[in-house]
Amino acid sequence: MSGIIMPQPDSTILARAAQIVAALREVLPEDTVISDGNETRAYECDALTAYRCPPLAVVLPRSTAEVAAAMRVCSDMGVPVVPRGAGTSLAGGALPTADCVVIGTARLRDVLEIDTDNRFMRVQTGVTNLSVSEVLAPHGFFYAPDPSSQLACTIAGNIAMNSGGAHCLKYGVTTNNLMGATVVLTSGEIVEFGGPQAGAAGLDLLGLLCGSEGQLGIVTEAVLRILPRPEGARPVLIGFDSAEVAGECVARIIRSGVLPVAIEYMDEPCLRAVENFAKAGYPDCPAVLIVEVEGSPDEIAVQIAHIREIADALNPVEFRESRNADDALAIWKGRKSAFGAMGRLGDYICLDGTVPVGQLPHTLRRIGELSKEHGLEVANVFHAGDGNMHPLILFNANEPGQLERAEAFGADILRLCVEVGGCLTGEHGVGIEKRDLMTAQYDPDDLAIQMEVKDVFDPAWLLNPAKVFPLESSARYRQRAAE
């Protein structure tokens, strides 16, 4: 284990492990409860793999009612619960504790309803993000948020993290595409928030639940807004000889009135790695933008002409259009292989912070300086249109002390994001990774009111403990809950 501390497991719970498992078995079907040490090990971490801890037991329910039954047992017996989707969180959001029961969505995989007349679908939340779009395709519809992890990640995890993707610039993140949720509260009560009608008149509790990182309840079903598929999409690639000019180009495109679906940015270290790995044939220059627009062929042509005019005024090294689907794939190839390419260079941690778009050049320059100070390489590949940065810090996990150095470098970058007017996390969530940095963005009172909200939903502080809120900040609440 490294820098981030987790509280000691509750020994009184560990001592009751057998009773807890038996109580779960009593209310759930035979194969739903996993307590064998070899099997629970599969759930010991998420994509923040430096932190691991097998749970006391894992429950994989098939229905909302089974989730509620499991939740009730845990509540009655005072056992912490860690909700889990596919375990692709990069923030340690799904990291278990030794004294917890993991409630996973792996078997909640049904698509319950597709209603194109009212433009929504209802799913169990264990379905993967990609499969949602796949079942919609024959209907001519799609679900907009598209995290790069979409092959594996679940709608449950997307809702808990308010996940985004490359297409967010135009279509928004999960909260903008979520219409309703069925939630199991810690009491075991099943509650529906929102629904297929547009909005609700009372407090926006659905908005509060989205992005709550499993702190408020377990989401078992969701009503998702679905959109008709665009007629087509085309990327262009624009190379610049400085990060500043690339940043300026992003701002000018946004101001111009063309709203691209995506504007992605890659810097020199990233371009170099990608070139070596994927041979994408990108220009050899300090900064590349990939801008994608949508519509009919004519509409695409008009938008690209606009973008070309903006870019030309800034003397790009290259402006590459895609004339057909193959060209388009070639342009996306390098971007899509960026994480793989970086992986070839060694271990890395992937950060996620957001800065105002106008601060991109300054932030990139400061990251370069910090890289020298910490003696670790960093590459940048990110969603530029909304300032959502993903610096990748390279290190060698086998060399003692390097992970800690990388983490310290990462913390400096995230503090920098906050300093320039941005935030600690744009789409990956706080989890344990950024828990202790929360005080950099929020004053004690700002955190207190959030913890009071948690207290309303989860008075015993059983859900996803020791995440999101710094331990010292939450100590008072956890203590009161324990009494």
Binding site: D115, D117, N118, R119, F141, G164, C168, L169, T175, N176, E189, E192, F193, Q197, A198, G199, A201, G202, L203, D204, L205, G207, L208, G211, Q215, P228, A251, I254, R255, G257, V258, L259, G295, D298, E299, V302, T354, P356, V357, G358, D386, G387, N388, G421, C423, E427, H428, G429, V430, Y442, D443, D445, D446, I449, Q450, V453, D455, V456, V468, F469
Partner: protein, 373 residues
């Protein structure tokens, strides 16, 4: 605090905080006024708290599509400033002065507090979808922040969404950060005359299933209207395709100027000015036809927005009969109808909402009873 005071008007956030601390201590209820355009709050007990002096744009960055303004900033001022940069508030906050008989000037804080969203909701989302972050003061006077000024932000619990649409019952907004969008360079409207709601709903669901990004779908007085927006050639293309698709109808087309005019009226529900009871009803669009038929039986008039997802009903009817027809019905203008204005919610949601209010406003001084709880 003395009880002689008949109006409180803090000059800034710090003063507001002091007032709230004192009022909480005295358990003195307050009625929060932004621009004072919502006369429907007049029945709320409490000393008027006029926050319109907490005003002014803090920053506006068109290249970042971000505006930060103090809550009391007049909406017209913001709209003019954005207009000059070719941008706008894409959620088209309705101006309900005509409908509510208010005389004040609407403020950005009031729009956020009410989650005021116009016809473009079907395309670009509601007011709450354009909110990036906010500052507010809670009942006991704590000055609090949530969210930020950037487009993507998942740091901690999303209280911004919670406060948006809370009508001042959780805190008094002092500053909001919102996303602005470049406004469309061109726009046009297609009008289908001489049809009823059922046929209108059929047109809406067909049009909204196309990729032509229909940004308004409303029905009024026997006419269904579809709005399209974008770059000029885009609008031309989309209009053409929709005309082909609905070839069997006799379709009127409106140009940009006429489009603006029409949708401003639809947005503000100008057609239902007056003093009869006015209801705002949220439904699943395909349920709208049956609901509308029953509303007609009550004897009032109906218009549709959001592709049928929003029904405006103006006319007679007891609250209980309205809610029997459609549970998500909010009484926007009382017109003498007694009872709760907000629709009832599931017991668990009511319990959670009340418990949240107790955390944000333990003394129960912020617009008590405005949301009927």
């Amino acid at each position: 605090m003395t009880t002689i005071i008949d109006q409180l008007a803090p000059a800034d956030e710090a003063e507001l905080s002091e007032i709230l601390t004192a009022a909480s201590g005295d358990r003195q209820p307050l009625r929060i006024l932004g621009g004072g355009t919502r006369t429907e709050t007049a029945h709320i007990a409490g000393t008027p708290l006029d926050v319109s002096a907490i005003s002014g744009v803090v920053t506006y960055e068109p290249g970042e599509m971000t505006l930060i303004a103090r809550a009391g900033t007049p909406l017209p001022e913001i709209e003019a400033m954005l207009e000059a940069e070719g941008q706008s508030l894409a959620f088209e906050p309705p101006d309900l002065r005509g409908v509510l008989g208010g005389r004040g000037i609407p403020t950005i804080g009031g729009a956020i507090a009410a989650n005021a969203s116009g016809p473009r909701r079907i395309r670009t989302g509601a007011c709450r979808d354009h909110l990036l972050g906010l500052r507010f003061v809670d009942g006991p006077g704590r000055i609090l922040r949530n969210g930020g000024r950037v487009m993507k932000n998942v740091t901690g619990l999303d209280l911004s969404r919670l406060l948006c649409g809370s009508h001042g019952t959780l805190g008094v907004l002092t500053e909001v950060a919102i996303k602005t969008l470049p406004h469309a360079q061109a726009r046009a409207t297609l009008g289908f005359h001489g049809i009823d709601e059922l046929r209108a709903l059929g047109i809406f669901s067909k049009a909204l299933a196309t990729p032509y990004e229909v940004s308004g779908a409303a029905f009024l007085d026997g006419t269904a209207w579809l709005r399209i927006e974008g770059l000029p050639p885009q609008v031309e293309y989309r209009q053409q395709r929709l005309l082909e698709m609905f070839g069997a109808h006799d379709i009127q087309t409106l140009d940009g100027a006429a489009t603006r005019e029409l949708w401003r009226g639809l947005r503000d529900v100008a057609h239902f000015a007056g003093d009869l009871p006015l209801w705002r009803i949220l439904v699943k669009p395909t349920d709208a036809a049956a609901i509308v038929a029953r509303l007609h039986d009550l004897g009032g008039q109906v218009s549709l927005d959001w592709g049928g997802g929003l029904i405006w009903y103006c006319g007679p009817g007891e609250a209980s009969s309205l809610r029997q027809i459609a549970p998500h019905a909010t009484l926007v203008r009382r017109g003498g109808v007694p009872g709760p204005a907000f629709p009832p919610e599931a017991p668990a949601i009511t319990r959670l909402s009340q418990e949240l209010r107790r955390r944000f406003d333990p003394a129960g001084i912020l617009n008590p009873g405005l949301m009927d709880s």
